[in-house]
Each structure stands twice: as structure tokens, then as C-alpha cells.
């Protein structure tokens, strides 16, 4: 399966930025600092369970 990581990243960014476009680059920067290379993932990226678990934890931290 592919694309789950990109979807999760987009969801985290959307939720945390609350529709404020100015916040989007900061949320993406926070993800990068946490070790998620946002630009690397596309809808064709494999669903790597390690990255998915990491994103689940980050989503909790940022919620």
C-alpha cells in the first residue's frame, strides 16, 4: 500500500495550523525537526510502518 504517510502529514499540518496558512511552514518545520522529512513523501510512497508509528506519536504530541 502507498500514500498513507503523505496523508498523515497533510492531516497533522491541517489540524495544527487550523486553517491559518501562515502557520503551515512552521508546522512543517516542526515535523522536520522531529525527524519527518515532509517533502520526501508522496502518494506513491510505501506505507512504512516505522514512519507511520512515529507520525501517530507526533500527531498525539501536537494535538
Amino acid at each position: 500500500m502507498t500514500g498513507k504517510i503523505k496523508k498523515m502529514i497533510d492531516e497533522i499540518v491541517e489540524k495544527r495550523s487550523k486553517g491559518n496558512a501562515a502557520l503551515v511552514p512552521f508546522v512543517r518545520a516542526k515535523l522536520i525537526m522531529k525527524g519527518i522529512n515532509c517533502d520526501k513523501y508522496t502518494m506513491t510512497s510505501e506505507d512504512d510502518p516505522v514512519v507511520i508509528k512515529k507520525l501517530e506519536e507526533i500527531a498525539k504530541e501536537l494535538s
Binding site: L23, P25, A29, K30, M33, K34, G35
Partner: protein, 366 residues
């Protein structure tokens, strides 16, 4: 006057405090921030607070100081902020950070003080400052937690000790703390801006961290090869010569178009120890140094083009200071701030979104 920056090169803490006090005579300060050489005994924190009763006084030790128009050593620089700049402020100390960081207590105190949930604070009216024990190795944890808890910008630096690497301190409310971090949240009147400037060109050579020990800030492997070997190959040198390139060729996480610099500190056998951690799977680009004075001049001009600057607090990496000294450019760098009320210090790391190196993070009051 909205704010005033002063400095003193007197030799004892008593003389310094008295000198600063006389320079600030007649100024109504709400907040007094000071950065003091580590040569002064820790009681300077109490002496400053005792002198400025009723004022929120905080600061930290340094590895060199910056004031309007000059870079100094063995001094104390101070900035008094008036109520026209800062409507309100709350400071919180995180203690025993080496044993674990929990920033929630600080944010609880901010909410109690400002009587509004932190998540509801207008991020254009609030700005945070963070001063961290520069020998704690806890900057990443602290910035990560701050980033989780708020969207308010927190900017700052890691306290220094004049390159002795023995003890750094933060000061607040008359007390001196080691193994601690200070978080200050300002409600500002006329807005602010952030300058983040580093003097590097991003080269077209990338390295991916395939194995790292985040706790010790070591990269074990880049691209599946021993880190030292991969870095040396990227620079075009031998492993033995690689440390001679560390200052000129650090690496950077590229976010947007901006590098967030990670500076190599030393070789540990075939590993590279950095001044901040780089998580596994991160792609970093090799950087090449450019001219700090020219780049800072450009960054200041850009900030001035947006509107008048009331004052600047500059968190300036000690590695940049060492480079400026090496190139005999400290005077030229100091001169860039002539005419702008400025204080700053040479840090053991800079804070903005995360923990970064070889950068100046500046808080610009409008």
C-alpha cells in the same frame, strides 16, 4: 524612550550593577534583560534584581557580549524594556533539566498569569524567549516540547561560559540557576520580527543520516557508511583532515529555502559528534561558509525595510564569533548594530523552532 541598551566593562559585579543603574537612571523599565560574562560571580543575579526592585530581571552567562556598535568580552550588557514595548511578561524556570524536561509547568504559569489558554493567545502579540544551560544538552527536548505546546514563537540561546565548558547559568528574580532553562513570555505592544541569519551557501551535496545516536548528538552513519568517511568524501578530503573543514563546511537541514545548521564538533572514531542532534532518515545538505558581516548587513537592511526597529536582542553563535575573530571582522560586525539599541551574546547554541548552530537568531522589537 521605549527601550534602552547599555553595557559595562567594570571589573566587579558591584561596580557593574552600579554603572548599569546609573546609565539607566530616569528610565522606567518593566523588564531588564542582562547577559553577563561568566567571570562575574553568580551573585550578580541577586545584585541586579536588588538594584532594580519591582522590575522583572533575568539573564544568563555568556561566551562574549554584543552591544550597539561593538562586540565585547568580560562585560555585562543589559536592555531595559519600557511599557511602550512590553505590556506584560511572565518568566518560568525549568530546573533539573538533565534529569528530564517537562515544560508544561511553564505554560501553566503563562496561562495563569495572562488568564488565557496558551493556544488562544494571538501569536502576533506574544513572543517567547528561552535561555538554556548551554552544557545541559537538553535544548532539543525543550524546543520540541515548546513546539508541541504552542504556536507562539520562542527564540533564544544557550548560555555560555567564555569557552571554559564548566558551568553556565541563567538568572531570574535574584536567583542563579544551573542545569536549568528560563522561559519568558512577553505580551508586546508594537509587534516584533525575527531575524534568523546564517552565512552559508547550500551546496549540491546531500547526506542522509542512516544511523544516529540522538542522545549523544552523534551521527554514526551517513548513506550507510561511517559518518566520518561519508562526510570527508562529500567535502573532498581525507578523514584525518575532515575536522579542519567543520567550521567552513557544516551541514544543514533545509526547510523551505533556509538551512538549519548542524555543526560538527569532533570525530569520535568513525562517528561525528555534532553540536545538535540530527534524527535518523534526515537528509542534510553540505554547506559552505560565506561572509557573516555582509549577510548580517543584508538581514538587518531587510528588517529595517519593513519598519522602524526599536531594539534587537541577538543570540549569536560562539562559532560565528570565533570565525569573525579569525577573520578580524569583530569590529565590522559590531558596527552593523551602531544606532540600533542592541544587546546580545555569544551562545553555545541558538533556538528558533528547534536547536540550531552557527546562526544568529535575533528578536527585533518594533
Amino acid at each position: 524612550m521605549k527601550l534602552k541598551s547599555v553595557y559595562s566593562t567594570k571589573s566587579s559585579a558591584d561596580e557593574v550593577v552600579s554603572d548599569i543603574s546609573s546609565q539607566l537612571k530616569g528610565f522606567t523599565a518593566k523588564v531588564l534583560i542582562f547577559f553577563a560574562s561568566s567571570k562575574f560571580e553568580s551573585s550578580i543575579g541577586k545584585k541586579m534584581q536588588d538594584e532594580f526592585r519591582g522590575v522583572t530581571v533575568f539573564g544568563c552567562t555568556t561566551a562574549g557580549e554584543i552591544s550597539s556598535g561593538r562586540m565585547i568580552k568580560n562585560s555585562v550588557v543589559a536592555m531595559a524594556l519600557g511599557p511602550e514595548i512590553v505590556s506584560d511578561v511572565q518568566v518560568s524556570i525549568l530546573e533539573n533539566i538533565k534529569g528530564g524536561v517537562n515544560a508544561k509547568s511553564a505554560f501553566k504559569s503563562f496561562e495563569n498569569h495572562f488568564k488565557i489558554p496558551v493556544r488562544q493567545m494571538d501569536i502576533s502579540n506574544y513572543i517567547g524567549m528561552v535561555l538554556i544551560d548551554g552544557l545541559s544538552g537538553k535544548e532539543e527536548d525543550i524546543m520540541n516540547q515548546i513546539g508541541n505546546l504552542t504556536d507562539i514563537t520562542f527564540i533564544g540561546g544557550s548560555a555560555g561560559d567564555d569557552l571554559k565548558f564548566k558551568e553556565t547559568r541563567v538568572y531570574y528574580g535574584g536567583k542563579s540557576y544551573t542545569n536549568a532553562a528560563l522561559l519568558a513570555l512577553f505580551q508586546v505592544k508594537n509587534g516584533f520580527d525575527i531575524i534568523k541569519t546564517q552565512s552559508f551557501k547550500v551546496l549540491d551535496k546531500k547526506l542522509v543520516v542512516t544511523k544516529a545516536d540522538e542522545a549523544t548528538r552523534q551521527v554514526i552513519e551517513f548513506d550507510g557508511k561511517p559518518a566520518a568517511q561519508a562526510y570527508a568524501a562529500a567535502v573532498g578530503t581525507t578523514v584525518a583532515e575532515a575536522p579542519n573543514h567543520f567550521m567552513h563546511n557544516p551541514v544543514g537541514l533545509i526547510i523551505g529555502d533556509e538551512p538549519y545548521v548542524r555543526s560538527p564538533q569532533r570525530l569520535d572514531d568513525r562517528r561525528i559528534a555534532f553540536y545538535c542532534h540530527i534524527p535518523e532518515d534526515m537528509e542534510v545538505s553540505l554547506l559552505e561558509s560565506t561572509n557573516i558581516v555582509d549577510d548580517t548587513k543584508e538581514a538587518l537592511a531587510k528588517a529595517e525595510s519593513i519598519g522602524p526597529i526599536a531594539g534587537i536582542i541577538n543570540f549569536h553563535c560562539i562559532l560565528r564569533t570565533l570565525e569573525l575573530e579569525q577573520k578580524m571582522q569583530t569590529e565590522a560586525y559590531g558596527n552593523l548594530f551602531t544606532g540600533i539599541p542592541t544587546i546580545g551574546f555569544s551562545t553555545y547554541g541558538e533556538e528558533y523552532i528547534g536547536h540550531i548552530n552557527q546562526t544568529s537568531t535575533m528578536l527585533v522589537f518594533r
